[in-house]
């Protein structure tokens, strides 16, 4: 199998296997864990009989294989769930119902996705501007104090955890200077202006941290291109430094930038756990933290799968873009 179709097929199969293995791992770990899920789900004041009933209803006493099979069936063919009196139909791809709220996990994730997407995409725009800008500037001003300063700042950015810079930003901007209110998510469809203002600090926190990686990457790729023979030839022809940087050096940085960016975006779409928790944004990441605390197995498995899906998808897209940006790359 060769060519583009073969590439897509191979990638899709690989992704499917990856995701299934992920779900099996989570199921097995949940299964071998002696923690009392039924008690946690039912609440601390439940009687043993009630706990038993919850365990029955959630199939917690079934063997591992049966439960996993059940999960796969729902994923492929949909599933009917009896929640107390009513029967709820969950159509394929069904990730099950939340132990806590009886809500469908797919619906739950879809409801949280816009928040996470807002955060990820806005931050991406900022980190590309800041990161690539810093990289280009430090190459343009190489050997001068500006470069030293930028390199130091980049190093500092790489060494700061996102929740530290987020905390500091929030305390300084919202607490001390009172320039902005403490962030509170407003949907874009509701009020675009409020949406942007409230996401500004989360965007900045993520972007300042991430842009360090992009600055380094841009700089490295550009310096590498600048050292090549064809650039020397252009210089000999009298092409100006500005044109060389813009037309030739920057081009060399495009492919690696795409690869790293795709990976970051994939991970972020699966939930910027720290940023969302810190700023109280009701996205996938924060939902994950909440679900994990109450051992809400279907939600946890669903979120892990969705995150894994985005990572794999983003990397596949990156490979394609990579090949488009650089003709020397062969898709395998």
């Amino acid at each position: 199998m060769t060519g583009f179709g073969g590439f897509v097929l191979r990638r899709a199969v690989g992704a499917l296997v990856t995701l299934l293995v992920l779900s099996v791992i989570i199921y097995v770990v949940f299964y071998v864990t002696p923690g009392n899920v039924a008690q946690i789900t039912c609440g601390p004041r439940c009687s043993p009989a009630q706990v038993q009933q919850v365990a029955e209803q959630l199939h917690l006493n079934d063997p591992l294989f049966e439960r996993y099979w059940h999960f796969l069936q729902g994923l492929v063919a949909g599933q009917d769930y009896s929640t107390g009196t009513a029967v709820q139909h969950c159509s394929a791809p069904c990730l099950g119902l939340s132990y806590q709220s009886d809500q469908q996990v797919t619906a739950l994730i879809l409801a949280k996705l816009p928040v996470t997407a807002s955060l990820a995409l806005g931050a991406m725009v900022l980190w590309l501007i800041i990161g690539v800008g810093t990289g280009v500037l430090s190459v343009w001003r190489r050997g001068r104090p500006t470069e030293r300063l930028l390199t130091t700042l980049t190093l500092a950015g790489m060494s700061t955890p996102v929740f530290v810079i987020g905390l500091v930003l929030m305390i300084v901007v919202c607490g001390q200077l009172e320039l902005l209110p403490f962030p509170q998510y407003v949907a874009f469809t509701e009020d675009p202006e409020q949406w942007a203002w409230n996401l500004l600090l989360p965007w900045l926190s993520l972007a300042l941290i991430e842009s360090a990686t992009y600055a380094r990457l841009t700089r490295a790729a550009m310096l590498e291109t600048l050292a090549e023979d064809h650039v020397r030839t252009f210089r000999a022809y009298g092409v100006g430094e500005r044109a060389i940087i813009r037309r030739h050096a920057l081009r060399g940085a495009v492919a690696p930038l795409i690869a790293v960016n795709a990976n970051n975006i994939g991970v972020l779409f699966g939930g910027a756990v720290l940023t969302e928790t810190l700023f109280g944004l009701p996205g996938i990441g924060r939902e994950m933290v909440e679900a994990v605390k109450v051992v809400d197995l279907p939600v946890v498995v669903g979120m892990v799968l969705v995150t894994g899906f985005f990572v794999v998808l983003a990397n596949a897209v990156a490979d394609v873009l990579y090949a488009v940006a650089d003709r020397r790359v062969v898709l395998t």
């Binding site: 690989g14 296997v17 990856t18 293995v21 992920l22 791992i25 989570i26 770990v29 949940f30 864990t33 923690g35 190093l155 500092a156 790489m158 060494s159 700061t160 955890p161 996102v162 929740f163 530290v164 905390l167 500091v168 929030m170 305390i171 607490g175 993520l206 941290i209 991430e210 990686t213 380094r216 990457l217 700089r219 490295a220 310096l223 590498e224 050292a227 790293v260 990976n263 970051n264 991970v267 972020l268 699966g270 939930g271 910027a272 756990v273 720290l274 940023t275 928790t277 994950m288 933290v289 994990v292 605390k293 051992v295 946890v300 979120m303 892990v304 995150t307 894994g308 990572v311 794999v312």
Partner: protein, 330 residues
Amino acid sequence: MSEALVAVEAAGTDTSVPAASGARQFWRRLRTQRAALVAAVVVALLVLVALAAPLLTAIEGQDPTTYHPSLVDSARGGVPVGSFGGAGADHWLGVEPQTGRDLFARLVYGARVSLGVALAATVVQLVLGVVVGVAAGLGNRWVDLVLTRVADIFVAMPLMIVALALLAIVPAGFPRPVLVALVVGLVSGWGTLAKMVRAQTLTLKQLDYVAAARLSGWGTVRIARRELLPGLAAPVITFAAILVPTNITVEAALSFLGVGVKPPTPSWGQMLTSADVWYQAAPQYLLLPAGALFLTVLALTVLGDGVRTALDPRASSRLRVGTGRRREAS
């Protein structure tokens, strides 16, 4: 005596010598980088502080877990009594809001947790990555295929999410720092390393001295240990230097979220969880763990850069991004 002479002389007596002269060269190259040297000193100091934590707190006369209710003003919600968050001769850096636990003691014991967990996780990642990578490189087609697939799966695994899930479901009885180190080590980092080691093994396998070893009847395990591992040392050490600061950040992040190291064990990430509430009354409660975290990761990153340049001098001109540290915690 010249460098070459040492190598020649030693080569006659001991087979491990190429590595020894490599180490000497490594030190010489590392020494020329001022930033890396400063970073190395900072890292050494941090390790010293972590190791000497009981001694340091004994000098101060405090410990990290004793509550001092008299030192916090319960009427004002648990703000430390006195200026500078209660800092003074008894409590060098003040006390924790609400509990009154000694901040200096928690900070230095936190260094133990931070560095200990990160190093332990790195060891797990290195062992897994090297063993899986070498096995894939030396094994037959099927072994290679299966192991590479497994490594691929772990490369695609979203660390924070999976670690959250795993950490939440293991019961509380399990010693928490060990668990965090295990989870971080098992879930992240080693997949990429395994793929790199596999590629390197495939290259080394073709070389004459490995073929010679095989012809003289050496077994696979012996070849792997005596002939391949020395050749893998440089890239693996470089990779380890990137893994340690990443692991520190991840541990802090997990503890910050409340699923990592749990109280009463102190951890820098966990100290930051509630720091935003107290920043006005006790700013050091935010600044100290944040600063410690920043300094540690910065020093380790700079040192890692230095190590990489020392091991692969060409990398310095290429500007050492090659193995690119992936930011795991967002």
